[in-house]
Amino acid sequence: MRRTIVAATAIAVLAGNQPVLAQGPGEYEHVVEEYRIGEANTAIRRLARWPESMVTESVRHWAKLLRPEQLVAALMLHTELAAAILDSLPHQTNVQLRHAQELLDALSARRDQHERADAVRLRWYQFVISMYGTTWLDDADRYAREALGRFPRNPTLYFQRGALLELRAKFNLPEPPRATLARGRIPDPGPRMTRTLESATAEYRRALELDPHMAIARLHLGWVHVLQGDNRAGDDLAAALADARDDRIRYLAHLFRGGLAERQHQFDEAAKEYELTRELGPSHQTPYVALSRVELARGHTERARELARELAALERVDDDPWWDYHLGAVDEDALTWLRAEAHRR
């Protein structure tokens, strides 16, 4: 799964069990530099052992003194530490993210740095929303609303809010009430999942109004339409496939087209789409499971068993796009961009 990108850091943080306290706030700049030159895990591990008061004091002191490139490194240092302790210390995650925001504000206040600060802030929000979206949906939604307040015409943020709502619908969780009221909608009396999916489609449509060729938003809209039994699903998934720029989206588009055909009992068509999915992800589990089921439904028992055996024999990579879609995943593109910016010399 894509969440492993930050999990590796989490292991690094938790593996260190010897408390190493800072000698004083002066050491903060040293840790930031360590992160900036590429010793990320060492720096994160070191900062993780500092007492909270020392971190707070250091951030306050150094926010005015660090160079702009150091500020970006510092805010990413706190952000990566937050990601690493998300499961084990959620309260501390919030504390670290607040420090990151203080440093962002400091960057934004610098002369000639406003544009850069905005670019960093947007990616930072995208990353933080996606990070919380894997575990803590309320926090993710809070950051999404905050981000949309600052970037009201950013399609990615609308897409992310839609994806959070889609996740809530899957797990039958209520919508965050303030989000509903902020858009002036009156909750429908219908089932919770139906309402939440409708809210998700509204966010996807908003994203697509701003960027009509946003394949990932079109893909999500198409799948929600499949779940809703909306006959626009086929067109949405075809458009997602046409606009897709990477194989993960193509993989999911074919998988979802297969799912749509299967729901319509068009098993031959479903098998064709699942085969295309398998071609794009031959080491992923889901197309084998889907194909095996469809072959059984077609009466091809031997073929179904053969696919199950093939799946059992696979050297699999723990990175099936369906899992990320279904459970939420870290925005790897935003994280990569932010890391590059933090290590820029």
């Binding site: 998988l255 889907a290 028992t301 055996r309 099936d320 899992w323």
Partner: protein, 276 residues
């Protein structure tokens, strides 16, 4: 018990003179039936104790026997992260006890699932292979219960042995691709009996075991897993195999089968029907 798609052509009498082939098919349907009184199997029943209808038409039950066929058991075990710790230890002990209780001609396979599904040990008579694999299980990840059941059914060898899936989960599905209805459709097409042991009540497991004429047991504590796994095996051993030749019903399509007791008390679990 019914094989494949529910109908067993038990006797195909072929008369083959030198030039011409005449075939007479005599179709015998086999239904395996569990009869329980409380938690105990009811034993000693005969054909006179059962009433069976096929599409509403009363049938003559020709034979009733306690099934002595060997078992193909697939253990389908949840290894998601919620199993971490004491629960996993108890699950390993339960699986171990279950494996030891199998008869020499029984075979077993081990499928584990978190978000990933693994055929850890293919169908084998090698008990040690299963026990060793159980001891090496680790808890991690999400839960793809429905996909795991589908895979286990697809892998079932469908030979003359009776097939049993014993499913264990301590939670709910979080990441499967397949819908409940898709998996239930597969179950209805297969001849596999599915028993389930669970920790939290789960409507899918109830629907699953009902469709597969099995039973679901709820564990009130992790210590109970061993007892429930053994009970699942005992229940499978105590099943009756009813045979009859359908009379007075159309041959094609879905046949709804209802089994009840005439001269005894007990709760019956049987497959709801078959297709042909």
């Amino acid at each position: 018990m019914m094989k494949g798609y529910g109908l067993l052509v038990a006797a195909l009498l072929a008369v083959q003179p030198p030039q011409t082939v005449f075939r007479t098919a005599v179709e015998v349907v086999e239904i395996d039936v569990s009869v329980m009184r409380g938690t105990q199997p009811v034993q000693g029943l005969t054909s006179r104790d059962f009433a069976l209808t096929d599409n509403g038409v009363l049938q003559q039950v020709e034979s009733v026997m306690i099934d002595r066929l060997p078992l193909n058991v697939t253990l389908v075990l949840d290894t998601s992260k919620s199993l971490f710790g004491e629960r996993l230890t108890r699950l390993v002990q339960a699986g171990d006890a279950f494996t030891q209780a199998l008869r020499p001609d029984d075979r077993a396979a081990l499928v584990t699932f978190s978000h990933q599904i693994e055929l850890v040990v293919p169908m084998t008579t090698d008990r040690q292979a299963i026990r060793s694999a159980l001891a090496h299980m680790e808890a991690n990840g999400s839960t793809a219960l429905r996909d795991a059941v589908q895979l286990a059914i697809a892998l079932d060898p469908r030979d003359r042995a009776r097939s049993l899936l014993l499913v264990f989960t301590d939670g709910h599905d979080t990441v499967s691709w397949l819908t409940e209805d898709a998996v239930l459709d597969t179950v209805r097409r297969s001849g596999v009996v599915i028993h389930a042991v669970h920790v939290e009540s789960d409507t899918f497991l109830d629907r699953l075991t009902q469709a597969a004429r099995g039973r679901a047991w709820s564990a009130t504590s992790d210590r109970q897993l061993r007892e429930l796994f053994t009970r699942a095996l005992d229940e499978m051993r105590a099943r009756y195999l009813l045979t009859y030749t359908p009379r007075g019903v159309d041959t094609a399509g879905w046949h709804s089968v209802k089994v009840s007791l005439k001269n005894a008390r007990g709760d019956i679990t049987a497959r709801p029907g078959y297709s042909r």
